[in-house]
């Protein structure tokens, strides 16, 4: 097990290098740069733009910029934001708690809804029909659409909840924070819980339909017992894989959700930084994002090893 982990960590180093090169090339290939915002400003003269370009080191060749970035990055110096001149690490770290809070709560909500719903749906056909309609609705609504709709109805017309932000400026107690969390977490959890419950239900059903279940059935076990005692444990390894992979996908949903609900997390930092072509912040965001996903992948693999008796004995 430990050797497995060490090997995976060693393998991830060249991958991260590759990703950094790819991402660096991509963001610098995009038209415009950190100075784009200045171009629209009549008070900023062409001479000013040239001066700022030199001052920011943007007049150097791209390979030179990449290597100086890489060397500094490895040494732990992530540089300064082109937009506001503050250290990149500081800008990133101040946004991380909000995102962890949102994604964490959404995951819990999604799991709490999906696991029982998936199991009941596998056992009970009538419940299945109800949840399948709900699930399709959850899957087929664009995140931004659901978000804006909830904002309009729950926060706007009904006035029950705040429509955006993480805390009221004069609030910040537990109740206030939960009230701010409900809408964005619901939106983020909706699609995932729908997909997860469907996935769990289907894998359980499929397992029951497998030939090796015939033996169990011939022993006179009921369908329900088969599902709960045999299909569920069988379905768990792949389900856990899917869940862990989807959590990393949540980063994508979070980018949209944070933008709509003005949630001060790393997702909205990314959108802002992309619009400003804030290269240093973008690089740090994508490198940390990639690292986080790799970590989740590793955990997913370990989970499969631990949960699935077959692969465990094989490894």
């Amino acid at each position: 097990m430990i050797r497995f982990i060490v090997r995976r960590v060693m393998q991830s180093i060249p991958l991260l290098l590759l990703i950094s090169l790819l991402v660096f090339a991509l963001i610098h290939a995009a038209p415009g740069g950190p100075l784009s915002t200045y171009l629209e400003n009549p008070n900023v003269r062409p001479e000013d733009i040239e001066r700022l370009r030199k001052a920011m080191g943007l007049d150097r060749s791209l390979p030179a910029q990449y290597f100086s970035w890489l060397v500094a990055f490895i040494r732990g110096d992530w540089g300064f934001s082109y937009a506001d001149g503050r250290p990149v690490l500081e800008r990133l770290l101040e946004r991380v708690p909000a995102t962890i809070e949102l994604v964490g709560v959404s995951c819990v909500v999604a799991l709490v809804a999906a696991v029982p719903a998936g199991i009941f749906a596998a056992v009970n056909r009538r419940f299945d029909r109800v949840t399948s309609v709900l699930a399709v609705a959850g899957i087929s609504l664009p995140v931004f659409w659901l978000g804006l709709l909830l904002q309009l109805v729950v926060a706007g017309a009904l006035g029950w909840l705040p429509s955006s932000g993480r805390t009221a400026f004069d609030g910040g107690d537990f109740v206030d924070r939960v009230r701010h969390l409900i809408l964005p977490a619901t939106v983020l959890a909706a699609a995932l819980s729908a997909a997860w419950s469907r996935y769990l239900r289907r894998t359980m059903r499929d397992t029951v339909a497998q030939p090796f279940m015939r033996a169990a059935r011939s022993r006179g076990l009921t369908e329900r017992t088969l599902l709960l005692q045999h299909a569920l444990p069988n379905a768990l390894p792949t389900f856990v894989t899917v869940v862990l992979l989807d959590i990393s996908m949540m980063a994508s949903g979070a980018v949209v959700t944070e933008s709509i609900f003005a949630w001060p997390g790393v997702g909205s930092l990314f959108t802002e930084s992309l619009a400003k072509r804030d290269y240093t912040v973008l690089m740090a965001f994508l490198m940390c994002g990639s690292l986080a996903v790799m970590l989740l992948n590793l955990i997913a693999d370990l989970a499969v090893h631990t949960l699935d008796p077959r692969t465990r004995s094989a490894a």
């Binding site: 056909r125 289907r202 499929d206 980063a251 994002g289 996903v293 499969v304």
Partner: protein
């Protein structure tokens, strides 16, 4: 009505559902293909004086911000959205199944190399990566289809690999191996059929995901660009008029909903039949 009768009626409805869904999908595909013939108006026929008209006998779905016929736009939008959903899902599924099956069956260093490549692709946050790529390439529709497809094969690969691994460990595959069947034959005859349900589920979900991913890109202004219509960008443009002109949001939204619903039903049926 007794519980028994209800269950029977339900079961009958369940049997018919895939057929209805398949028919719906076929209708959507045909009307998308025939959009230039079916559409009551020209795609770019502006009528600024009659903008934001409610649905009527003249304009069945009403008109948009520029007075264009919404039914026409929905029909032309179907071409783009269905292409993005279906083709990108097929691209994803093909690459994913190939990579996953190879890795899962071969094991060893092949498995390692393929899975690390998958990890690398999976590691970069998807929507941010697509947003940057779209900003660089300013992509046309075909390129966008390819981008969405290339961004989505990794899950299928991992799911297929996991299935293949667990199937390979089972007796009937071991038996096939023991009697000297070639690896390709074992994979095609014994392993892939077992993997199909899971792959079908992943693919049907990918259709909807492709359509939705395009709408998310539209939300950030890097999706399909007007004047080309897609259901995603129509829905995005309708976001501010949800209360005053709800039909602008309803029709493209309903089309996305129906398409994803139909794909799921068909995927269910495939899964059930093969399982």
């Amino acid at each position: 009505m007794s519980t028994n009768a209800l269950t029977t009626a339900g079961a009958r409805a369940e049997n018919r559902a895939p057929l209805v869904a398949a028919a719906l999908l076929a209708t959507l595909l045909i009307s998308a293909a025939l959009a230039p013939v079916l559409a009551p108006y020209a795609m770019d026929a502006l009528d600024l004086v009659n903008r934001r008209a409610a649905p009527s006998t003249v304009h069945w779905f009403g008109t948009d911000e520029l007075g264009r016929d919404l039914l026409t736009r929905v029909l032309f939008g179907a071409r783009v959205s269905l292409a993005i959903g279906l083709i990108s899902a097929v691209v994803s599924a093909a690459i994913g199944a190939a990579v996953g099956a190879t890795a899962g069956y071969a094991g060893g260093w092949v498995d390692d190399a393929l899975m690390r490549a998958t990890d690398a692709m999976l590691a970069i946050p998807r929507l941010p990566l697509l947003m940057i790529t779209a900003a660089v390439l300013q992509p046309s529709v075909p390129l966008l289809v390819l981008l969405v497809g290339l961004a989505g094969w990794m899950e299928t690969a991992r799911v297929v690999r996991a299935e293949v691994q667990s199937l390979s460990a089972r007796d009937f595959v071991a038996a096939a191996r023991a009697i000297g069947a070639s690896p390709v034959r074992v994979v095609l005859r014994h392993v892939l059929p077992g993997v199909l349900p899971a792959a079908a589920v992943a693919t049907t979900l990918a259709v909807g995901r492709g359509i939705l991913l395009e709408s998310a890109l539209s939300f950030f202004g890097v999706g399909v660009q007007p004047p080309t219509a897609s259901w995603g960008n129509m829905l995005y443009q309708a976001q501010t008029t949800m209360t005053s002109e709800p039909w602008l949001a309803f029709f493209p939204g309903a089309m996305i909903f129906l398409t994803v619903l139909a794909c799921n039903a068909v995927g269910d049926a495939i899964g059930a039949a093969k399982g």
